[in-house]
């Protein structure tokens, strides 16, 4: 009985329920487990990224790195790709001459990433009650 009252207080006064915490932790840990188990997918992603970037700049593939890291509340893909030189561009586009040596891209975060073959999760409206909460929409 007391547990029920406490749960009610928590829901009304805003402390996150332990089940929501658990759900969010699970979402991230499963994502990282799937990434660790899909080196071929990561390799394909790496090749595709180089191919796209190589259309605009010459890159040093040997010293490049694409990785996935836990950042704040999610997982981010980080790419560190040394740029050797710019490729010739179309005349009407003015591109700044850069002496940059490293291009850092923070892209896909965990919420929008590919589900690696799993069915996309349905988004539901958050219910007022403490029961059956899904992760809040971002």
């Amino acid at each position: 009985m007391l547990n029920r009252v406490m749960g009610w207080f928590r829901t009304f006064f805003g402390t996150t329920s332990s089940s929501s915490v658990a759900k969010e932790r699970l979402r991230l840990v499963l994502l990282s487990d799937h990434l660790a188990l899909a080196p071929d997918v990561i390799e394909a992603m790496r090749r595709d990224i180089f191919e796209v970037i190589s259309r605009y700049v010459e890159v040093d593939e040997a010293h490049s790195d694409v990785s996935f890291e836990h950042k704040d509340e999610g997982i981010a893909m980080l790419a560190s790709i040394p740029i050797v030189s710019l490729k010739p561009r179309e005349p009407e586009e003015s591109s700044p001459k850069e002496e940059t040596s490293v291009l850092e891209t923070v892209s896909v975060n965990g919420h929008n990433s590919d589900n690696f073959g799993r069915r996309p999760r349905k988004r539901r409206r958050r219910k007022a009650s403490g029961a059956s909460q899904t992760a809040p929409a971002q």
Partner: protein
């Protein structure tokens, strides 16, 4: 929050020394005696090995000991999850054993209890990938730097279990008061042999059911296993909540289960603590205690 990689670096990363020790905390002196090596095992799955390893690690470290916990459940790791450290795991045991990273880089330090460290299992490998003598070598190396090396054994009696016990001098055998569990644990006790000193922790006792004759008592369990009794734990709901949050109950002053783990840690450390008692699960006193925030 610091970033932690979750995918191992490319194979041409510089080969690092395995032997660099973790940097000691200023206030901690290097232990003069070699650490104790304790495997937490059972045979039966789901009886509370990982929860026990996590909480004993926390409780021992909270007393000032330097503790390292090794997750030996390759492929199905969970010690990191129970501890709430899953987002900080960057490397694992096989990364160390196969020479890709140093031990120092692989150890995850628990920020809540600064003398507590975790060495995670690989998620994308199998238990057979670990060579037994490599595991023994790792444990031997760790006991020079830590007061306690706790090894969380997987379920079963195959390679994972054999690797987990290989480096240990002592065992904490966890059993629940169920016939199936007692039978499995009995088999495991036999497999531990004479080399390993084993003690028993009985988990998930519900005194009310024992009184009604609907559950084995601690005495019933130990009549078969015949081991020195290290501790008795109830079946409180707060363990589930704590795993949800990744906050081991041993950190919670108000938790009766946490108190039980702290008592077990004290006993392991050689203190003469009162005989193990089981807490009534979610009993009136438990609720009262947590409501007023005080210790039961």
């Amino acid at each position: 929050m610091e970033t932690q990689r979750i995918v191992t670096p490319p194979v041409d990363a510089p080969q690092l020394e395995i032997h660099a020790p973790p940097a000691p905390v200023e206030s901690q002196k290097k232990p003069k005696t070699r650490g104790r090596t304790i495997v937490v095992t059972s045979g039966k799955g789901g009886v509370g090995k990982t929860t026990t390893t996590a909480n004993l690690g926390v409780a021992l470290a909270a007393r000032g000991a330097r503790v390292v916990m090794i997750d030996a459940d390759v492929g199905l790791r969970n010690l990191d999850l129970v501890l709430g450290l899953e987002s900080r795991v960057r490397y694992h045991v096989l990364d160390v054993l196969e020479g890709r990273v140093s031990l120092a880089d692989a150890l995850v330090r628990d920020k809540r209890v600064p003398t507590l460290y975790l060495l995670a299992a690989a998620q994308d490998r199998e238990k057979d990938d670990v060579a037994t003598d490599a595991m023994v070598g790792l444990v031997e190396q760790l006991r020079d730097e830590f007061d306690y090396v706790l090894i969380d054994s997987p379920a079963g009696i195959e390679m994972g279990f054999k690797n987990a016990i290989a480096g240990a001098d002592e065992a904490i055998v966890v059993c629940t008061p169920e016939v199936a569990a007692v039978r499995d644990v009995d088999r495991v006790v036999g497999l531990l042999g004479n080399r390993i000193n084993a003690q028993l922790v009985v988990n998930r006792i519900r005194p009310a059911l024992v009184r009604k004759g609907k559950m084995l008592s601690v005495e019933d369990v130990n009549a078969i296993l015949r081991l020195p009794l290290l501790g008795v734990l109830g079946d409180a709901a707060d363990v589930i909540v704590s795993t949800n949050r990744g906050e081991p109950v041993a950190l919670d002053e108000a938790s009766a289960t946490g108190a039980a783990y702290r008592a077990i840690a004290a006993r392991i450390a050689g203190e003469d603590v009162a005989a193990p008692q089981a807490a009534e699960p979610d009993g009136f006193m438990d609720k009262l205690g947590s409501f007023f925030g005080g210790r039961r």
